[in-house]
Amino acid sequence: MSWKKYREHFKLHRMDEDHFVLGLDFGNATSAIAYFDVIRENAEILDISGGYGKPAAPTALQYIAASKEWIFGEYAILNANGQDSLLTGFAENLGGGAYLDIGDGNRSVVDIAAIYIEELIANCRSINPKAVVSGIVAVVPDFVASEAKTALSAAVAKAGYENLLIDLVEERQAVFAFCHHNKIAANKLMWLDFGDRGLRGGLYEIKDDYNTIECLAADFNEELGSAFIDREIYNLLAGFYCRTQKTQLDELSKTEQEQILTFAYGHKDVLLNNDGKDTRIYYNFVYPPFSEVVSASRIAGMAWAWENGLEDFVNRLLGNHFTDDITVICTGGGFEMPWAKKKIAQIFDTKQLYLQKNPKGILAQGATLYAAQKLELLRSPKFEIADGHKTQVDIGISITQGGKQRFYAIIERGSWLWQKPKTTYIIPTGENAEIELLTRDETGRISPLGIAKFKSMPKRPQGTTRIALDLEPTDNDRYTVKIKDLGFGEIYPATGLVERFDMRIV
């Protein structure tokens, strides 16, 4: 039965506890899943840690080729042994058409994501063997390309839930659904997400009880993601290991690396949460075992850069807005760390700060509430978002494919202004090695944006000039276009010529 049929079903029959409406936060480092608690009419996080209170599980999979066994989440991390393939961070590869080596051949990232998602959803059958999934909403970061969204939909479909996927929603939509349902009253709402890939945030003006929402500011800083903490801790613990084992970091075997990775995973909490005290850690996995003391100042040093970065980040978002009429909601696993909580509490008054115990769970909870709204189990505001900080059209070039001309988007409509697309490499086929940039609006109409070409360029045969093209939005209708001559192999070496253009959508 499709989710639409369930929607009709729930109009006639009260939804019971056997029906599960799910919100899925398939993250790059960790994932979480929530369900709609029909008794409390709220979204509840499904504890996938075996009941130990860690509702988010690492987005990790391990394939043991010998027994053809898939291992999930924390078990996969702890089972890392240098022999069987451990897959982590694969969510960010969705949409890239990539294949990953699982030790028994290659599998597409969509297939791998489907295996993980299937297992994640299967957890609801553990708490209720009669569970019937009746609708799913999955959250996606609002900066990912449409290919990644398509790939995530494909993964959910492959996991067996094609007709049950109600929608993919941007993370901020899940946050708005959460805030609306939990009556987090706000005139202005600042959303901060501390994920592994960076710190993201937005300042929104909430109007008419979340019916309309205006984006006042948005920003992203990839240097401030929690992955840097993981890296630092790994290096620290690997350093102790190398010193006692009289080896070098770059000489560690894969088995040793994965052992230290597992050890770092298991000790991250102890190190970061020791309340400003030195921490003794015990290397039980080596013989003879040894212990090391990690000083509080060392840990504080790791947090220092982030703490300073956060203040700058918040100030940029605030701009000219006053802090006193802003409610701040924090999401992302990074905010589960006490020092991160402490820092944000120093910036804002605790009364205006919404920081729940499991900030990682909010997105999955919000997605669940959004799903419940779509299934008409909850009243739903319109959530119409006016974005002044996103691109209004696709920007791209015309390419020839299969003998036909088609539009190739370099920046997709709806991308954040802070999103800098990757460099595009182009070999123009025309005589003048020039690149015509185009726009495509929401109706599909293509219009010229401008032409980027070098003022002076040595004469080369047609199709022998490789150009690096960088596009950077400076406003929602202005772009800086940079082209750089890369030459063509050894025959036509790069000249190093660089040209910059300021283009504006008319």
Binding site: E17, D47, Y52, N79, N81, P289
Partner: protein, 544 residues
């Protein structure tokens, strides 16, 4: 201020002040959990003692770190568990299994009773809670105990609370399955007449409790215990021991080292490895156990299949305990098809064979439910109960839960007296297992006789608990001894004495009273009427 005063204040204020904490504590064998009543959300919330990233439960591990100068340091919880290899001889775990016994542990030059060790765990959790809010005041708390705990173990738990400085805050003890059922009830829709088997499988104890929803309206639910079983010494720790024994066998086979030759710190590593193997094999089908301290070091693969073969006797015993509980239900045998759902609770219930075992017994996997938070539910349920006791769940103006919950819990064991008839001792049951707590107040009239004058003035009572139906007098556990003195001097056979035993509704502790009834019209009652609270440690002496 004691908890009753706090309750009065809460009632007077009509609300729970922000800094007042109502707590529920699951004092477990392997892990302990503390939760507080979140009055804003109107539900209990576990307190993450790992301070964020780690698992919420606190390992029930107490460690003493001797210092050359000074008194040494006490370490409780995660840090103690992680450093067990460094302090193998002064790290105590699974102390709950010894609760109610007189077995002392020598630590830091002191002989400590199990309740004194448990008190440190309780104190650590409460201190942690108070560290989160320096203004925190503990208003009241409920501590859970296994259903199958005997009276001594329950009293030892109360004593632990007292040592931890929480005596006046302890509202009551609560049976763990009751707490689990309560937590589950507030999340699920239990229907009238539904029968739910709660299988609470912890580190040390297995509690099997069958609840019947005997009444269910929009505002009330009544849960009646209609069968119970399990064993106080049957839990995940036993599995650790089985794997540990296997590890010792492997070491013997590979390098010829006997357990006695293994250094304490390496022995501690094996304990860690055995636990790790058990936990990992719940999620993976094979685990490589590293024996890093052996010379030469080696790695041994243990598959889930091999693991389940190793534990076959234990698994079989578990199955039999379930079947026994159903067979010996209070009102006659109950068949699996009469049970609507099985709820798996406790960390040990996560082992895959548990679910497989139930599927085999019930032949219907659609009946097997796992709690959303199996490791936390006991504590959450205890907190619900504490909030109910503090008057928070019934206050209409607080938009709290709309249901009133009533439990009808029955005594799990026979309770009675030791009777001497000539040279033969026997157990005289006064309160039969299955008697609801509310009705567990039974009296018996004895006529005193004897050849010596003191036979008429003094009497020693031994109050016993028969754990299993078929146990003989020697297997019975002593609840306490009471020495009755100062009865009026009368001729033999002319004193009738009423001995009353009862089980307290909150926590199931045994209490009693003795009353002199005189003898017909010939000897009027002397007015001797004494109450007693038996203890295994000290004989209670009742003077007339």
């Amino acid at each position: 201020m004691n908890w009753e005063k706090y309750r009065e204040e809460i009632t007077a204020k009509g609300n729970l002040p922000e800094d007042w904490y109502i707590l529920g504590i699951d004092l477990g064998t392997t892990n302990s959990v503390i939760s507080y009543w979140d009055n804003g959300a109107k539900r209990p919330e576990p307190i993450d003692t790992s301070n964020g990233f780690g698992k919420i439960p606190l390992p029930s591990v107490v460690q003493y770190r001797p210092e050359d100068d000074g008194e040494g340091e006490w370490v409780v919880g995660e840090e103690a568990w992680r450093s067990i290899k460094i302090y193998p001889e002064t790290t105590i775990r699974s102390i709950k299994r010894k609760m109610g016994t007189n077995e002392t542990v020598e630590l830091g030059g002191q002989e400590l009773l199990p309740e004194e060790i448990s008190a440190k765990i309780l104190r650590e959790m409460v201190d942690y809670c108070q560290s989160l809010n320096p203004k925190a005041e503990i208003a009241g708390l409920v501590v859970s105990v296994p259903y199958d705990f005997d009276d001594s173990a329950k009293k030892a738990t109360m004593r632990a609370a007292e040592i931890a400085g929480l005596a006046d805050k302890l509202i009551c003890l609560m049976e763990e399955p009751k707490a689990a059922a309560l937590a589950y009830n507030f999340r699920r829709e239990l229907a009238q007449d539904e029968k739910i088997l709660v299988f609470d499988f912890g580190g040390g104890t297995l509690d099997i409790t069958l609840f019947h929803v005997s009444e269910k309206t929009d505002t009330k639910i009544k849960l009646q215990v209609i069968a119970e079983g399990g064993e106080a010494q049957h839990g995940g720790d036993n599995i650790d021991e089985i794997i540990l024994a296997k590890c010792h066998d492997l070491i013997g086979e590979k390098i010829g080292l006997s357990p006695a030759d293994i250094a304490p710190e390496n022995g501690a590593e094996l304990i860690l490895r055995a636990r790790e193997a058990k936990e990992r094999l719940s999620g993976v089908k094979s685990f490589r156990i590293p024996f890093t301290f052996c010379i030469p070091p080696f790695v041994e693969l243990l598959t889930r299949e091999q693991f389940e073969e190793l534990c076959a006797d234990f698994i079989d015993k578990t199955r039999k305990l379930v079947q026994k509980a159903l067979r010996e239900a209070y009102s006659g045998a109950i068949y699996p098809d009469q049970i609507d759902r099985v709820l798996l609770e406790g960390g040990s219930a996560q082992m895959p064979w548990v679910r497989d075992m139930f599927i085999e017994i019930f032949n219907d996997e659609n009946k097997i439910y796992t709690s959303e938070r199996p490791a936390l539910d006991i504590s959450l349920g205890a907190t619900y109960y504490a909030a109910m006791k503090m008057g928070l769940l019934s206050a209409a103006d607080m938009e709290a839960e709309t249901l009133d919950v009533e439990f009808e819990v029955s005594t799990p064991h026979d309770i009675g007296l030791e009777i001497q008839s000539g040279t033969k001792k026997s157990f005289f049951p006064m309160i039969r297992r299955g008697t609801p707590y509310a009705l567990a107040k039974k009296s018996h009239i004895f006529t005193l006789s004897g050849n010596q004058p003191e036979d008429m003035t003094n009497l020693d009572l031994r109050i016993l608990e028969r754990i299993n139906k078929d146990d003989n007098i020697d297997d019975c556990k002593l609840i306490g001894e009471v020495s009755i003195t100062g009865l009026p001097q009368r001729p033999s056979g002319k004193t009738r004495l009423k001995v009353m035993l009862m089980v307290e509704e909150e926590g199931g502790l045994v209490k009693g009273a003795v009353e002199d009834l005189g003898f017909n019209e010939e000897y009027a009652p002397s007015g001797y009427n004494e109450h007693f609270d038996p203890s295994r440690f000290a004989k209670r002496v009742l003077g007339g």
